[in-house]
């Protein structure tokens, strides 16, 4: 600051400012603290962070079981030298066992109901719909990843066509998911897990028994598999949307009841 500026500053400094009220300052400190703490509560988080957060709540046993299943399939495929007819049968058994991948995820999706936590979860920071949507997304993507790995290794180790392997793996899987999601969108209770387990067991039993009937897995049957794949895929998409929306309806009703009660 040069002499000229200092002169102006000295001139302006003649006008002093009255001291502030200590009480007002303390009030500001108190309110600022409150605003800061409220900000922590209402802090918005991004989609990625929300999904990461939800991944931590999914039990480790889900990841370990799915990894174990995939590893089991891979070891069985790569370690043992099956002849072509045996290998084909092993692949068909993989196809029949693919509902197990879905089965691992469903108890996690249903844990709010099986542990009687839906009432608490529905009134916490994130809506039940968001929580279930996040769980469905995480578990769905994990299942898809597992199936893709099995598909890649299976087609690399056998003469089976990729398209047919996709059909053999995804039709039983889709069918199981359709059944479990139908249960989930209509029955929201601790019993849902048992129903899903029963559906999965039924699908596995049906496809294991089908795997012994060769004509269902020949080129001539591909058309039927294709139709089943498309039908299950469409139904699955509809059921995912319906299940997702059903959480909103269910809790909107609960909210209405609680408002009347108050």
């Amino acid at each position: 600051m040069n002499r000229n500026d200092r002169e102006i500053r000295n001139y302006l400094q003649q006008d002093s400012v009255p001291s502030y009220d200590l009480e007002k300052m303390q009030q500001t400190v108190r309110l600022a603290r409150q605003a800061y703490c409220n900000r922590l509560l209402s802090k918005r988080i991004g989609f990625g962070e929300f999904i990461r957060m939800q991944m931590h709540f999914i039990g480790h046993w889900v990841w370990f079981t799915q990894a174990g299943l995939v590893l089991g399939f891979l070891i069985l495929l790569t370690k043992y030298n099956f002849g072509q007819p045996d290998l084909q049968h092993i692949l068909l058994l993989f196809s029949a066992a693919s509902p197990m991948i879905a089965l691992v995820g469903f108890p996690e999706l249903l844990k709010s109901y099986s542990h009687g936590m839906e009432e608490i979860e529905s009134c916490t920071r994130f809506s039940m719909r968001k929580l279930m949507g996040a769980r469905m997304l995480i578990l769905g993507l994990t299942d898809l990843f597992c199936l893709t790995v099995i598909l890649a290794v299976s087609t690399a180790h056998s003469d089976e066509l990729l398209l047919r392997m996709i059909l053999y793996l995804f039709v039983p899987f889709n069918l199981t998911c359709c059944g479990c999601l139908t249960v989930l969108s209509h029955v929201k209770s601790g019993q849902s897990g048992y129903y899903c387990g029963a559906i999965c067991a039924l699908c596995i039993a049906v496809f294991v028994s089908l795997s012994f009937v060769r004509r269902y897995y020949e080129a001539a049957a591909t058309g039927v598999w294709m139709i089943m794949f498309i039908l299950t895929l469409v139904y699955l998409a509809v059921e995912v949307v319906q299940t997702f929306q059903s959480f909103n309806r269910f809790y909107a009703k609960e909210e209405a009841i609680s408002v009347t009660w108050q």
């Binding site: 000229n4 500026d5 102006i8 400012v17 500001t28 400190v29």
Partner: protein, 169 residues
């Protein structure tokens, strides 16, 4: 404790650090607000609103410059919107304040306020931040959201106008 440390603690969720920051800068922000609005009550309210705004939007604070400058920026923007809404500043309200003990001092303060009130708002902002808050020109440019050369120009024009008014032209 330095600002960087305080901000780090606040980011980690330490509410005591926020208390310390408010206490540290309350006086400075209040002084600036008083110069802007001209009366104690409004200045205290504006200061409070500045800190509340800072706390509510703390996540968007990128810590690119000094905390002090960021607070001045908030205070500046809030005072601008406050003045836009209504709030004319009355010289009579200034006169009621108890800060001036003797007649000479009161007259000097009165003439300074008259001088400042004749300046355009942009020039007045630059003068206040430069001579009362001791900010550097680049910091003033940041607070007032204007370019460095524009700020320099406003400062020189403001100084010229003050000198002219000081001489009583």
């Amino acid at each position: 404790m330095d600002d960087e440390n305080l901000i780090r603690r606040i980011r980690a969720g330490d509410a005591d650090a926020m208390d310390q920051l408010v206490q540290k800068y309350y006086g400075l922000v209040y002084t600036y607000c008083y110069r802007k609005v001209g009366n104690k009550e409004d200045a205290q309210d504006l200061t409070q609103e500045t800190f509340l705004h800072f706390c509510r939007n703390f996540d968007s604070y990128a810590q690119r410059g000094k905390v002090k400058n960021y607070l001045y920026t908030i205070a500046h923007n809030l005072s601008v919107s406050m003045m836009r809404k209504s709030m004319p500043i009355h010289l009579e309200e200034w006169e009621k304040e108890e800060s001036h003990n003797d007649v000479d001092q009161f007259e000097a303060a009165d003439s300074i306020r008259k001088v400042l009130s004749q300046l355009p708002d942009e020039q007045k902002d630059v003068i206040l931040l430069r001579f009362y808050q001791d900010l550097k020109i680049k910091d003033i440019a940041q607070v007032t959201d204007s370019g460095l050369s524009v700020t320099k120009y406003r400062l020189s024009q403001g100084i010229k106008a003050i000198k002219k008014l000081m001489r009583g032209d």
